[in-house]
């Protein structure tokens, strides 16, 4: 018996040392020389591979900004596509270092799924899209409809709540990816497609004639979308958080993709800009990074406004107005904590 106990303890100890010896995420990322970023399997404007296989989009640009800050090169990103269902498991199991996947921050995800959310980078809400030919003008007319929803999302729960609260019935048609939702919607398996308004805009832009489809006026939920990291590595969480804050602050201070590196090269008049681009103070060192982390992040894909306009703004096929996603002093709610 003693022998068996010894053997078992030995086995357990080896197992524990084998698993417990984990380096910090920052060290892991530096050692690997690349940032593993969990994104969607393809949502035009947010993250989708272009014709050359390069990932493009709002979320993809945030991945690159983090890589630029941490590794010095925004192209050192390995994009890890995930479905709504697999994303958190992939992050928690270490298949990804950080997640930017139009993900809604909720209490249960933050606390129970053991995630740490980065500041909200896109304020969204759930909407409905229907073919214009149906003549539906309000979500309250959707009683009895078949509704396509992506499983494993907050939209699924909002939908159930909304129809229950309004005493309406519906047939849920569960789908895995946006692409599958599009196919089923086009084939008429469902009358309605529901997801975040930004996702609807992205899907609608894919139709040959987008005017054949209308997005209903009701927004039935708050969907603050943001990046996330695993619980338990505060340093890594801080880095992600401040990269997002830096991009928003950069827009506010007029630091752009074009001038970021120039501003970083010499000490300017504006101390706020100096601290951001690293020509003054030691903000980078506090994060465990070098002084020019934020300047590189901005130089990679531009500040928040540039990223927005390039991927989802009014001049893109998605045509999403800045709305809530404007700076606080421009009528929006973006109010990033200062870098000081």
């Amino acid at each position: 018996m003693k022998l068996i106990n010894k053997v078992l303890t030995g086995v357990a100890l080896t197992a524990m040392t084998a698993t417990a010896a984990q380096a910090s995420t920052l060290e892991d990322v530096r050692a690997a020389g690349e940032l593993k970023c969990v994104v969607t399997t393809g949502l035009a404007g947010f993250a989708a591979p272009d014709a050359n296989g390069r990932w493009e989009g709002f979320d993809a640009d945030f991945c690159r900004a983090v890589a630029a800050a941490v590794l010095g090169d925004g192209d050192k990103v390995k994009f890890v596509p995930s479905t709504g269902k697999t994303r958190f498991t992939m992050l928690n199991s270490g298949e990804g270092d950080i997640l930017f996947r139009n993900t809604t921050e909720t209490l249960s995800r933050d606390v129970d799924l053991k995630l740490s959310f980065l500041p909200v980078n896109f304020y969204d809400g759930q909407g409905f899209m229907v073919p214009a030919a149906l003549g539906v003008t309000s979500a309250m007319d959707l009683d009895g409809a078949s509704v396509c929803i992506q499983t494993g999302t907050t939209t699924e729960l909002n939908l159930a709540d909304y129809f229950r609260a309004n005493g309406m019935s519906y047939e849920p048609v569960p789908i895995e990816t946006n692409e599958e939702g599009f196919t089923n919607y086009v084939a008429g398996r469902c009358d309605v497609y529901t997801t975040d308004a930004s996702g609807l805009a992205s899907t609608r832009a894919k139709f040959d004639d987008p005017t054949q489809h209308v997005v209903l006026p009701e927004i039935i939920s708050k969907e603050p979308l943001g990046g996330a990291v695993r619980h338990g590595d505060d340093q890594w969480h801080d880095i992600g958080k401040w990269v997002v804050n830096a991009l928003i602050n950069a827009e506010e201070m007029g630091v752009t993709q074009a001038n970021a590196m120039n501003l970083a090269a010499n000490v300017g008049k504006n101390p706020g800009i100096n601290r951001l681009v690293g020509s003054e103070g030691s903000m980078g060192a506090m994060l465990g990074l070098d002084a020019k982390w934020a300047a590189r992040a901005v130089a990679q894909g531009g500040n928040y406004g540039e990223i927005y306009e390039r991927n989802v703004g009014p001049n893109t096929p998605l045509e999403i107005a800045r709305g809530l996603n404007n700076l606080w002093n421009n009528g929006g709610v973006l109010y990033a904590a200062p870098i000081r």
Partner: protein, 394 residues
Amino acid sequence: MSTPTSNTNPLLRAWYDKETRSVIVQIIAAALILAFFSFIINNAVVNLSNIGKDINFSFLWDNASYDINQHLIEYSSTSSHFRAMIVGLINTLLVAVAGIVLATILGFLLGVMRLSSNWLTQKIAYVYIEYMRNVPVLLHILLLHGLIVSSLPRPKGSYNFGDTFFLNNRGFQMPSPEFQSLFWIVSGFVVGGLAFAWWFSRHAQKVQDTTGKAYPVALINIAAIVLLPLAVYFILGSPIEWDVPALKGFNFKGGMVIRPEFIALWLALSLYTAAFIGEIVRAGIVAIDHGQTEAAQALGISNSRVLKLVVIPQALRVIIPPLTSQYLNLAKNSSLALAIGYMDIVATIGGISLNQTGREMECMLIVMGIYLAISLIISSGMNWYNNRMQLVER
């Protein structure tokens, strides 16, 4: 001086002994396996606790908060995850059982067709089998689902069968029965008919064994199980009311619906597995020595009785064991339901519940446990049947 030292060393002596050596090797192997699994389990537990998670099944009693389109028992978004799991389990069992029944019927038909002396019949079966079993079943499922959803009309343009049955890309709508109070009398007659049929088959067998007199068993049994209850049903004034579906707004209301996801999954699984069963049946029949048939024919009994009494009972002994593994395959393949959004056990507790609660380990353990149980039940049932069919040696 030349005596080998090995004989004096007890350890080496034990090693050279065949039996002792085999025991030692087995102990080492068992220890390694045990160490491997304890490492894996420990690894999971340690890693989960590292990110602050435990293994806890209490989430099963929380509100599921999501809706399921196909639920054979009462279910709403206020039901618990546990109930969602039961709904999923029933959906899995439904498609597995329906699939096994259809696959068996088609498979036996294909097996016989493959042996037909008619050139066309034989080639049709041959081409069908080769096509079906050489394409992955997932593609069959996706193809069928795509065909149903894209090629059938939308609800407004449904194929209408006498204003009672409707076919469209939301499924096959049909009236649902609402049983009135008098219906239990009819059910009583069905149960009685079944009991009678069971007794009568045994009785007829006994009479035939002793006197050689053969009753028309099948006819009498059908009359007892179907015709008599049917007559009672009409005498009582048809105690079932039918809820007929009607188009209201986006979809049909009332009645019941077989959804495209179920149809696609059921047909794809059945058609695919039937191809394998067809080959198994053919092998089973070919395995029976032709002398058996000739000997039976020499007795002067009809061809159908030669099949029924001589060939099939012997062929079944060859067919049943591989048939069991096909049934298991079908039941497990039903998890591909995920690809088209059929709400089976994987899609409910192993999918949405898993994702909404973040309890990966617990949900996967439940799903694995359930599949294991389903498979073991199928195998033990088939083993029981197999034992009954085995040659009884006297």
